[in-house]
């Protein structure tokens, strides 16, 4: 465990130190900002505004972008600089290094997700919502749990892309925003092949998010069960980390 915990600590501070969380933090607070603007313009209940519009927007935009910001450079940066050689020439299996790097960066992502749900909660409560505090807390914590679970899956995909490809930014846009958010939001059978579908299903089951009233976020035609959604998301995380380990075995350190 020494190797994993040491690398995780290193990875966490590498992602969280200085101003490195500022960018992801700004992205995470965008729904809150959008909510504030709408509340000034429109007489709408903040709870309904958040649940119907901001939660889908959070899952569509904020989640993939925050994952890309924080998780993508975890290994790709070390490969680009050649510094990963320092880690790989240690007497420890590479998978331990990969798991440690992943866990450290994932931990750095959690405060960003927390800010993402606490911002709207505070705004909603302060702006005189009809919903009770317990309703707000239930919704916010539910969304945080979904983001945390989704962070494992999306984060592991980002780490895999970072190790496997030499153009990680392009590939992560294609996979997370293309195959993820967009395909999961389009009507039709393709929805079920997207992780986004399972996130929306969890949001429906845990938080009562029935889909957006806009055309951008199409309501789901079917809803996956909670066990199925959790299984798909967690299995994806494990599978992607296994693929990452295989990719790391093959990729040269140059």
């Amino acid at each position: 465990m020494n190797a994993i915990t040491a690398v995780a600590r290193f990875s966490f501070w590498r992602r969280a130190s200085g101003m490195k969380l500022l960018g992801p933090g700004v992205i995470a607070l965008l729904p809150c900002l959008m909510m504030a603007i709408v509340l000034i313009e429109e007489p709408i209940d903040p709870f309904e505004l958040y649940r119907s519009y901001m939660v889908p927007a959070t899952l569509y935009f904020v989640l993939p972008l925050v994952c890309m910001f924080i998780m993508l450079p975890v290994l790709s940066e070390l490969y680009e600089k050649g510094s990963v050689g320092y880690l790989y020439t240690r007497p420890a299996p590479r998978w331990k290094m990969l798991v440690g790097m992943f866990l450290g960066a994932y931990t750095a992502m959690l405060p960003v997700f927390l800010a993402c749900v606490l911002g709207p909660l505070l705004l909603g409560v302060l702006s005189g919502s009809d919903a009770s505090m317990s309703e707000w807390l239930s919704l916010s914590m539910g969304i945080f749990a979904i983001l945390a679970i989704a962070g494992l899956a999306y984060g592991s995909i980002c780490v895999f892309i970072g190790v496997r490809t030499k153009r990680p930014i392009i590939w992560s846009f294609v996979v997370l925003l293309g195959l993820g958010s967009t395909m999961g939001s389009l009507p039709g059978a393709g929805q079920e092949f997207s992780l986004h579908y399972y996130l929306i299903s969890l949001a429906y089951k845990w938080c009562g998010v029935t889909g957006s009233k806009t055309d951008l976020f199409s309501p789901l035609e079917t809803i996956a069960s909670v066990p199925e959604s959790l299984f798909i998301l967690l299995a994806t995380s494990v599978a992607m980390m296994a693929f990452t380990a295989l990719a790391a075995r093959q990729r040269d350190v140059l």
Partner: protein
């Protein structure tokens, strides 16, 4: 009988269509081995193959008796490696960087701290343990790199251009360290493109050129060949005509050319004797600067492969 430090058989590596290393077959027992060659000759490729960072396109390599294949890692407890690239763990303090490396190797927190302190002390960086790597000079980072290679008291130490960018005192310290390891019956492979750096610590060398093993053996034998070739020294100073006359009279120089009043080119086949005489003249204050052509490695290539070396 213990296994050789390094054994390669037809070891080859291509990067696409570029040949990094071609059919290297060599066995290295204990001691200090100079791995010589210009940039792009395959030194770093060989180092990376030895440490499992890249995989062979053909052939195989054994380090301390263990075949290096994808997934090999246990043997690296006995192998220390200081890469040619700079350390990019910028935001880390030297001690934290080394502790991280030690903990990845399986140490607990206390043991890692002790090991890191000892390694930094060994390379003379004990007092800089708390300095961040991005606040260090290149020479200091070089020494930190060597310290991380020494963490587990390795039986085989691989140093890729370890003297690049370091000051003369650190250079001497590094070479002393290499000698000390050899005295402890360990093996050091020292990659460099500067002949005299390696020559100071070992007479045994592998010479690579365009990914191929050009020569293996005693440096002194090749040195004798070099000394038969004319060398040129450029001297700046005062009263040079008197000095030149003395050198000609003693048959130390075979030709000379006055560039101007304060500068003279001297051609010689007896470079050590010439340097000795110039040192005496320098001590008397008549010489301001002295330059010798540092083309020894290129001369070796010319001798071994003819005019096509470059």
């Amino acid at each position: 009988m213990s296994a050789p430090a390094l054994k390669c058989e037809n070891l080859s590596r291509w990067y696409g269509e570029v040949q990094g290393l071609a059919g290297l077959t060599v066995t290295i027992e204990k001691g200090i081995i100079g791995l010589l060659g210009p940039n792009g000759s395959g030194k770093s490729t060989l180092m990376r193959l030895l440490t499992g960072q890249i995989h062979a396109s053909r052939g195989w390599v054994e380090v301390l008796g263990q075949r290096i294949v994808p997934g090999t890692y246990e043997i690296f407890r006995r192998v220390g490696y200081a890469p040619g690239e700079d350390v990019h763990f910028e935001s880390e303090r030297a001690i934290d960087f080394l502790k991280l490396m030690a903990r990845i190797g399986g140490d607990g927190a206390t043991q890692a701290q002790d090991r890191a302190e000892k390694a930094l002390h060994t390379v003379g960086m004990g007092s800089k343990a708390g300095v961040r790597l991005d606040a260090m000079s290149k020479g200091m980072r070089q020494r930190v790199k060597i310290a991380q290679a020494l963490l587990f008291d390795p039986d085989l130490l691989l140093l890729d251009e370890p003297l690049n960018g370091i000051d003369p005192i650190s250079r001497r310290g590094t070479l002393d360290l290499v000698r000390k390891m050899a005295e402890e019956d360990k093996t050091v492979i020292l990659a460099s493109h500067v002949l005299h750096e390696v020559e100071g610590v070992t007479d045994h060398m592998l010479l690579l050129h365009h990914g191929r093993l050009l020569a293996e053996g005693r440096l002194s034998a090749i040195r004798e060949l070099i000394n038969q070739k004319p060398r040129r020294a450029t001297v700046r100073g005062t009263d040079l005509s008197k000095l030149a006359a003395g050198l000609l009279a003693d048959n130390i120089v075979s030709g000379l050319e006055f560039v101007d009043d304060g500068c003279i080119h001297l051609d010689t086949r007896k470079l050590p004797e010439l340097l000795q005489r110039l040192q005496v003249a320098g001590a008397e204050g008549s010489i301001h600067t002295l330059e010798t052509d540092d083309q020894e490695l290129e001369m070796i290539y010319e001798m071994l492969v003819g005019g096509s070396a470059r």
